[in-house]
Symmetry: C2
Subunit: 387 residues, 2 copies
């Protein structure tokens, strides 16, 4: 297997409606990441830092990566903002892996951040809107919930099934989120409650949609060969893959599959040199419940329509054969845009070190992480394994 | 010397007030880059693409990198938006070099783009404002011209000199721009006209400030060892360096030097394994005339205050001992934010291939490119050499 880089530290703030501002959030996640390195990691050793964010709270957008160095006390090092909407975190991690693999730096810091809840509704809608297609979709009044509602309608119609599998995604992810002290929502929901909830974009109801959250997550990456200087339990990045697609959903040949996800997964598996059967669990981008079903299929873990039955059978539960989103997913853990892709890897870091506490996935050896930008115009996939 | 990657193709739109929208601009620059490869380069060979942009014309901001694949006909490949304000282009190039050096991809496309002139003044001011420090500087009403005006005042006072050297930067860069068919301003100005122009932020007048421009530039990078499959005259990226600093100028120990530029230059020279005496000419980030003087000093080509005398002596003219900004610089060529860093490398590509026509720098063998984000909170330096 490839060992492209190793994760030796990780930090995560609470996700939710938080009082803290963006500077404080990124500092908090990064401080935790440094503190988590078993044998310590001197901040002066960090060669480069990447910040994944879409809006940073609105008051500072351009050149904001410099604040990452400022707030973490490593002023001077190269900092880069990577922005691919909701996939910013996955692409920032990928950029950090490239820097380490190229031999340019020995240690890289990746922080994902979003502060969404004290931003005015108009500006927040603007941010989110401009991450979908603006020329056609936004002009036609189509929001992200609307796009995913269309995808869900089509999925249910193509496979001649009812909304129960969608609801079961929410039930499972809320159950997982209830065990995650960082999750935005830490309470279980019943299938009936999901199915009866107010409609947002039919067939998607309130519990089919992820919340608007604040939060940050941070990772410390080092060269694979030096990982054991920092910890006895590094987590290795074995493979990275990514893809893109036409921004406007109407320009694509199909609604119920994201070509960017398929390409990203294939590239990640080639890069890692492993097979799907060797993956213990998945972290997928479930911004809406339908997105989890589509992701499981696009990533090659189920055929078209089969993710619905896998979900209904309990295969994707934390204790199932293929756990999906043991941290609660975007659905229950929350979705602070730029933080999400980094937070997914944070979960993998805990799980593969057997440090996920009450929500530990049994026999977690290798994980696949899937992070999507917008409605599939960009996607990043990362494969990680225990040391 | 290091040969980290090779540039084998480059494209550039006209800079200025253009009718074309952002999609058309990026397509035009990329198409030119592909067409410029001497022995051709199949678009299918591109493994990854990077888009440098701050605002993309305002109507599409999040996830905009996907449009780069869409508009260039290479839908599916990984695309990443890199944003470090005015230094976005330099950092995007750096990310592409890392990807190639890591062995992950054989060919990378880098496009820088900004469409500024049909954006409302309020939104444009917002974009630019949020690239400086928002908490203190913007709240105090300090614009970028204001920040650079403070730097210029301090520089003139510290070195007990008048504004003539500032004016001479404008005179030189306008003279160079007059020979550049892509420049926003293609006319010469006199020192008297510069000194008599309306004040913008004393001691900076109208001709001390770069314009607000539309435009795009594109580069095609390949592995250094495969460069000659594409052309007999590749340009090699020998070294890359970058740095960061506190975002708010008030938080820094000095006004007349950018620590980020100094660090970026030192790293680039270490990375390239060459000396300053081996550099034939510079492309520096002259968003204001004072910025060119500060850059020449920060990059190690003059001691404190000496850039003023070098400039007055004509050393930095196109035919001088150390030509600076032979393309006219941001000052005359224009400054479409995300495009600038890529455009600087485009100029180096032409010059090092002896293809710069009327503005050719005599004996151009190696060039240093300096790209700054905001008022020095981020900076990237690239060193390139002829094959």
């Amino acid at each position: 297997m490839g060992r492209r880089a190793a994760i030796v530290g990780a930090g995560h703030t609470r996700f939710g409606v938080l009082d803290a501002g963006p500077r404080e959030l990124l500092r908090s996640a990064a401080d935790q990441a440094f503190a988590s390195v078993d044998r310590g990691l001197d901040r002066g050793a960090v060669g480069e830092a990447f910040l994944a964010t879409l809006g940073f709270g609105g008051w500072q957008i351009g050149n904001v990566s410099a604040l990452l160095a400022e707030e973490t006390g490593i002023v001077g090092i190269p900092t880069t903002r990577v922005e691919n909407a909701c996939a910013s975190g996955g692409f920032a991690l990928r950029a950090a892996v490239r820097s380490i693999e190229s031999g340019a730096v020995d240690v890289a810091l990746v922080v994902g951040l979003e502060k969404m809840t004290d931003v005015g509704n108009a500006r927040r809608r603007y941010w989110l809107g401009v991450s979908g297609d603006t020329e056609w979709e936004r002009a036609a009044g189509l929001t992200f919930a609307g796009v995913y509602g269309l995808i869900a309608s089509r999925y249910l119609a193509e496979h001649r099934i009812g909304p129960e599998a969608l609801a079961e995604v929410a039930v499972k992810n809320h159950a997982n989120g209830a065990l995650n002290p960082n999750a935005h929502f830490q309470k279980e929901v019943t299938r009936e409650a999901v199915l009866r909830a107010p409609r947002v974009a039919d067939p998607l109801g309130l519990y089919d949609c992820c919340p608007v959250s604040d939060g940050a997550a941070a990772l410390l990456l080092v060269r694979a060969e030096s990982a054991r200087r920092f910890t006895d339990t590094p987590v290795y990045v074995e493979g990275v893959g990514a893809g893109s697609d036409r921004l406007a959903v109407q320009e694509r040949p199909e609604l119920t599959s994201f070509a960017a996800s398929r390409r990203a997964a294939d590239e990640a598996f080639r890069s890692a040199g492993c097979e799907r059967t060797e993956v213990s669990f998945l972290e997928v981008h479930d911004c809406f419940t339908i997105a989890e079903l589509v992701a499981i299929e696009d990533l090659g873990f189920a055929g078209p329509g089969e993710a619905a039955s896998l979900t209904l059978e309990g295969t994707t539960r934390r204790t199932g054969r293929l756990p999906v989103n043991p941290d609660g997913g975007l659905k229950a853990k929350g979705h602070p845009i730029g933080a999400t892709g980094v937070s997914q890897i944070y979960e993998v870091f805990l799980q593969l070190r057997r440090a996920a506490g009450a929500r530990q996935v049994p026999s977690a050896e290798r994980a696949l992480v899937h992070n999507v930008g917008g409605a599939g115009a960009t996607a990043a996939v990362t494969i990680c394994a225990a040391g």
